[in-house]
Amino acid sequence: MTEDTQRTTSATTSTPWVGLKAAAFWPLRLVMDLVDRPLAWLQATFGQRAMVVFFLLPNLAIFGIFVMLPLVINVIYSFTGGSALFLDERVGVGFEQYQTLFDCRDFTDPFSCRQDAFWAGVYNTLTFMLLQVPAVALTALITALVLNREMRGRGFWRAIFFFPVLLSPVVVGLIWKWILERNGLLNALLNGLGLEGTVWLGDSFWAMFWAIFVSTWAHMGFYTLILLAGLQSIPRDLYEAAAMDGTSRPRALLRITLPLLWPTMLVVLILALIRAVQIFDEVYVLTGGGPGTSTQMLVQYIYQTGFAALLRNLGLAAAASILMGLVLMVLTLLQLGIAARRSREVAG
């Protein structure tokens, strides 16, 4: 355990805390003890397996009803057309929605496609993924390395970097939108330094740049913590041994730290990738998908087509989301495959 968690546990086991916890939790305890009777009977009658089912049931039920069921409904939607909401009023159209999505003269040019907004979404999301994930991983790594040094007040610095993670995506988007306005803070600062400001979010290159920047800003702290934990689990004596051998610091970093950190880094990359494919809220608030369609992401396309538009096209949106889900699945499986192979290598 790191010294911080030791301090934490000691703080929570001091007498006033214990008294407070006991007072707060007694109704809960009462309920739980009451529940024990029927459950003990259940276990006695149906064996341990029944208890396993019981433990898993609430969670799986919620997933099933509120995630899986809608997904299945979505799949069915993707084979229907019309503007009705309920399935029984919709018209079956086979693969027509998918065909509409894939109707392109030239797949490398989104604007040659019938649903150009969809393909713009695909390419923008791809660009975002390829740039944001390394960016956030790299900045998190550097920050973790910096924070890993012996320093007092590490908790303070950790908190500073974690702060933006707490903000809702809407707040994040609004804060930066306000700074990047034509008359905003950034332009004011640049003018103060004698440089020209510009309408940042009105330029397709800069809008994407800022979308990536803001997203990195908002989530870096979370990954920093994970990497920091990983760094701190590397035994110190390895470094001491290396120092005694006269190994330089950069070399130690390369040969000791990074390889041992790799499993943690992999977790970070997977999490960041999953989040990057689903990017919507922050960018939508920040740029609205503009200028033109240059920062419009795939999820925004689905949201606008299937929900926000006055005449919703649920079938088309569903088809697009199924395609997105398939790609996500492939990506994640690929990642996991590489991870499995890598850890086998490291272990072996």
Partner: protein, 350 residues
């Protein structure tokens, strides 16, 4: 003072500055400005009046034009620093502006009316907080109701999340059974489904279950979090099996084992999940917006969005309300940051 000095000047490699020290300190200072700066700027901006917000370059602190009661006029008049034709600078009070000429009077000698071209005047400003940015929307909108709803949703959702997720994590970590891997993958798969994608189908399901326009319709779909299950499972894996075996030999039921042994031992991870859950539920926007129809049930995030009309983005209100939305999270953060950051660290990689 000595301790602070030592802290600030502490560096690796004894008393000499190594280049890694420079890099590290630059990174930290940059991080401080970049992470906290925007939020501070937001707060400062939220106290500026509407017209002050549109100035360029923006002032750091909120400023408003000073006013003064002048004899013979009912309303306080704004004060301006004026450069007259002969080059003299005076402070005058403005009565009204007509076209490109401002009619002004000397506040101490209000008899004489002086006409000044509007280009030759500059407002006299002082630092003042435009708190009406906060009070005006709150007067019209039932802030306390929204706040209560948000608290209700957050607390109930967190309690249920903790119970439901820990039960599942327990089953997945301490029992061997066929299909355990499948369940894990099933849960991982749900992580990959973003809400906007299944928005309309969930709406249909909610409708069917008659949970529409109810706070429970907001709470229930959100309580099973894959992150929570994995987090707790990781932590529970480190609890020695011998404890459980011993309890079983003492004829304790599985439920008792879960409730009396596992949960208390998982307390740090539960604390982390609780904090995350509070954060997530407090910031939920899209889902409550879709589910709720009656204004009395709106959560804070939804309620604060409600005064955005079609045709006006009132930045001064938006900024103030954004700060208010941010505030509870920030307060919790300040008090509990030790738990958050160390908790994530300790459970993240066990």
């Amino acid at each position: 003072m000595g301790a602070v000095r030592r802290f600030v000047l502490r560096r690796r490699g004894g008393d000499r500055w190594h280049w890694t020290d420079v890099v590290a300190w630059t990174w930290l200072v940059l991080g401080l400005i970049l992470m906290l700066g925007p939020a501070i700027w937001l707060t400062l901006s939220s106290f500026k009046t509407r017209s002050a917000l549109n100035e360029f370059p923006p002032t750091l602190l909120p400023l408003t034009t000073e006013t003064r009661m002048v004899e013979g006029y009912e309303e306080p008049l704004e004060l301006y620093r004026v450069t007259l034709e002969d080059g003299e600078e005076r402070v005058l009070a403005q009565v009204r502006r007509v076209g490109i000429v401002a009619q002004m009077v000397d506040p101490d000698d209000p008899g004489e009316r002086i006409d000044v071209p509007i280009a030759a005047r500059e407002p006299v400003r002082t630092t003042e907080l435009a708190t009406e940015n906060y009070t005006e929307p709150l007067e019209r909108f039932a802030f306390l109701t929204f706040f209560y709803n948000s608290v209700f949703v957050t607390v109930m959702a967190t309690v249920i999340t903790l119970i439901v997720n820990s039960m599942a994590a327990f089953a997945l970590s301490k029992y061997q059974f066929r299909g355990r891997g499948t369940v894990l993958i099933f849960i991982l798969a749900t992580l990959m489904v973003p809400l906007p994608v299944i928005l309309v189908p969930i709406y249909v399901v909610i409708n069917y279950l008659n949970l529409f326009d109810s706070l429970w319709g907001v709470i229930l779909p959100t309580v099973a979090t894959p992150t929570g299950v994995f987090l707790l499972r990781q932590y529970m894996l480190t609890i020695p099996d011998e404890l459980i075996e011993a309890a079983r030999m003492d004829k304790a039921s599985e439920w008792k084992i879960y409730w009396r042994i596992i949960l208390p031992l998982t307390a740090p991870a539960l604390a982390v999940l609780a904090i995350f859950s509070v954060m997530w539920r407090w910031n939920d926007f899209l889902w409550p917006l879709v589910v709720l129809s009656q204004r009395e049930l709106y959560t804070l995030q939804v309620g604060l969005n409600a005064f955005a009309g079609e045709l006006n983005v009132q930045w001064h209100y938006v900024l103030a309300m954004t700060v208010l939305t941010m505030l509870p999270v920030v307060i919790i953060f300040v008090f509990l940051q030790r738990f958050i950051t160390s908790g994530v660290a300790s459970t993240g990689m066990k």
